[in-house]
């Protein structure tokens, strides 16, 4: 009989997998609390001194945890503000974070859809035309070295002058930002079938269209999802930034802007948490679709 080493709690697969991450998260939260105390200390102390009330160290310490406009809000403050603004109002009230998230989400999704479609079409053109590959591809790559987000404000101004407001200008910025990873990823995906497979298609005298649908397209699916995951985050960033220059009334970007103007740090942080939740949810959703597609295509 084989002698197995005794399995301790340390070797349990769940512990081995999640213990390091949990430790890091706990360490981050601890550092955050210490930083909150340190950064808000003088703010709170000055507040007490201005009112000339006698105070003890413990009062200041408690004050740093629930200051109204702290330099760095404590995690529990952000969590309660986030939960309050998500669940505390009816979902479509202008003070509800759900409403602002929906505004940003709609621009993100529309832009993501436009950008992904444009990227795929561009990749198809590039793969099928040598002229386009040689004349257009360098410019597409160059267009990404340009800080495209800098274009956002004029884009909004120009489209506003044309009478276009609201959803579409924001989505166009999102689309412009996110078409690139899709186009590049799909070019890689479309040329990923190896020469043997392409030659097999030739021996079957398949038309270019058949090669596309039966070989190139299925082969590019993993590349498609990898680049979609990158693109959806960028699309969200585009939508948020596009809300800044207009002084938009609604959206996560508008919450960030008004939070920074009026020093409402807790509101600012909860808007950031909302953005993080949105982007993780979108990526998780794409991951889910990827797994389902893989299952249907017989990957497992």
């Amino acid at each position: 009989m084989l002698l197995r080493p005794a399995r301790t709690l340390r070797d349990h697969p769940l512990v081995a997998r999640y213990a390091p991450v949990l430790t890091m998260v706990l360490a981050l939260v601890a550092i955050w609390y210490v930083a909150a105390v340190a950064m808000n200390w003088s703010l709170v102390r000055d507040g007490f001194e201005r009112e000339e009330t006698p105070y003890a160290m413990s009062d200041v310490l408690a004050g740093t945890m629930d200051a109204e406009r702290p330099l760095l809000p404590a995690p529990h403050q952000i969590a309660s503000a986030f939960l309050d603004s998500v669940f505390g109002y009816p979902p479509l009230a202008p003070r509800s974070l759900v409403y602002h998230s929906l505004v940003t989400l709609s621009a993100t999704l529309l832009g993501f859809l436009l950008g992904a479609l444009f990227g795929i079409v561009l990749a198809l053109l590039i793969v099928h035309s040598r002229v386009l590959e040689r004349s257009l591809l360098p410019w597409i790559i160059c267009s990404q070295m340009v800080p495209v987000l800098a274009l956002a404000p004029i884009f909004i101004v120009v489209l506003g002058a044309l009478g276009l407001h609201g959803l579409l200008p924001k989505s166009i910025i999102s689309a412009y930002l996110c078409f690139f990873p899709v186009a590049i990823g799909m070019v890689k995906g479309f040329i990923s079938p190896d020469p043997l497979q392409l030659e097999l298609m030739r021996t079957w005298s398949a038309t270019p269209r058949q090669v596309l649908w039966k070989l190139r397209w299925p082969a590019s699916v993993p590349y498609l999802f990898a680049s979609l995951k990158v693109a959806v985050t960028i699309s969200l960033i585009g939508a948020i930034v596009a809300e800044l220059p207009t002084g938009a009334e609604a959206g996560i970007g508008a919450r960030l802007l008004s939070g920074s103007y009026y020093g409402q740090t807790v509101q600012l942080w909860s808007a950031l948490v909302a953005a993080a939740v949105l982007s993780s949810a979108l990526i998780a959703l794409i991951g889910l679709i990827e797994r389902e597609t893989g299952r249907r295509m017989g990957a497992h």
């Binding site: 390091p20 991450v21 890091m24 330099l71 070295m145 004029i154 101004v157 960033i237 800044l244």
Partner: protein, 373 residues
């Protein structure tokens, strides 16, 4: 390209030029034959197109492109005429059409060139996109000036270029504020810190297993959103921009460098073990060189991210200079040509930055399979 199609294309271009003599240029303008300098140029372009149609093979590229240049020059001279600018009619657009058609044929012809090697091939690789870009800029210029698009909507490239040259001092100050102070400082701190933490995470496996999922999570977040917080903490001047850049560049570097440090093969690692190499020796002689391609990948991603982060941070408050500040204030004043000059500046800075990182990559990872041909 098919010679018959090529011939047809150039004959169509010649026909368009012939039509330009017949159709009116603009309501208040005399016909083309009454313009003293322009009509001989257009005529010469037509003769070159005919020559190209006669050759209709690889040799047609040169006369075709020369004719396109002449036609472009003729249309630009015509636009200086106040009667044509903003009120161009069919005759004028015929010249533009001929120019575009012949330029497109020339690009297609060049791109289809096979059986060239070495330096000539590299020159072609540069020339084709360059011609494509020039054509696009020409069409933009002609369309804006020919249709009389109000400069508030879209300035012509030449207007933006003039503005660029006339406001060099302002642009220089903005460049120093945004790029040299904000971007470069933040980029070096962010990438350096990311690399250091990655080395630690590689040394201590527990740290690595904890940090990698977190790094993946954070690098997928819209981190530019922290810009207003950084402005609140570090003030309006460049440190707040550098702080945003640090945060934005840190996580891509961390994730990529951890992946790179784990990229060294088993055999190489065993070799290091059998040499009795200490960890620092193995790090400098094996792990870091093996990680270089990954590190440069992160450096390239970060080059664009850093510029975007700094410019977005400036939307939340700056001293009275900087690229992002200028873009938002000039857009508010409807001085769109200045905005485009700033965008050109940002584009040039971004491309130069990216190009510099690529050159450094070529110089240090020449041994990598992707560069050995």
């Amino acid at each position: 390209m098919d010679p018959r199609k090529l011939r047809l294309g150039f004959i169509a271009a010649t026909a368009a030029l012939a039509l330009a003599f017949l159709l009116p240029l603009a309501p208040q303008s005399p016909p083309l034959s009454a313009h003293p300098i322009v009509w001989p140029i257009v005529g010469a372009a037509g003769i070159l197109f005919l020559l190209a149609a006669r050759l209709s093979d690889q040799r047609a590229t040169l006369p075709g492109l020369a004719g396109a240049t002449l036609a472009a020059a003729a249309s630009l001279v015509l636009l200086d005429d106040a009667a044509v600018a903003g009120a161009a009619r069919a005759g004028f657009w015929m010249i533009v059409m001929a120019c575009w058609l012949s330029a497109a044929l020339g690009v297609v012809n060049l791109a289809g060139t096979h059986q060239v090697r070495g330096k000539l091939q590299r020159a072609l690789d540069l020339l084709v996109p360059l011609l494509f870009g020039l054509t696009v800029f020409y069409l933009w210029e002609v369309a804006v000036r020919g249709f009389g698009v109000p400069p508030v909507l879209l300035p012509s490239p030449s207007a933006a270029a003039t503005r660029f040259i006339h406001s060099l001092p302002t642009l220089g100050a903005d460049f120093v504020q945004t790029f040299v102070r904000g971007v470069l400082a933040g980029y070096f701190i962010g990438c350096g810190a990311g690399l250091l933490v990655a080395i630690l995470a590689h040394r201590y496996a527990f740290l690595g297993r904890g940090l990698l999922p977190l790094g993946n999570f954070f690098s997928a977040l819209p981190l530019v959103g922290v810009a207003p917080i950084m402005v609140m903490w570090f003030g309006f001047d460049w440190p707040s921009k550098a702080a945003v850049v640090v945060l934005v560049t840190f996580f891509p570097m961390l994730v990529n460098a951890i992946a790179g440090l784990n990229a060294a093969g088993h055999i190489e690692r065993d070799l290091m073990r059998s040499y009795g190499a200490t960890h620092s020796q193995a790090l400098t002689k094996l792990y870091l060189p093996a990680a270089l391609p990954f590190i440069f990948n992160a450096l390239k991603i970060n080059a664009t991210l850093a510029l975007i982060g700094a410019i977005v941070a400036e939307f939340f408050g700056t001293p009275t200079q900087g690229i992002g500040f200028r873009i938002s204030t000039e857009a508010g004043r409807m001085a769109i040509d200045m905005v485009w000059a700033e965008i050109a500046l940002a584009a040039l800075a971004g491309m130069a930055f990216y190009g510099f990182v690529t050159l450094a990559e070529r110089a240090t990872t020449f041994w990598h399979p992707s560069y050995r041909t």
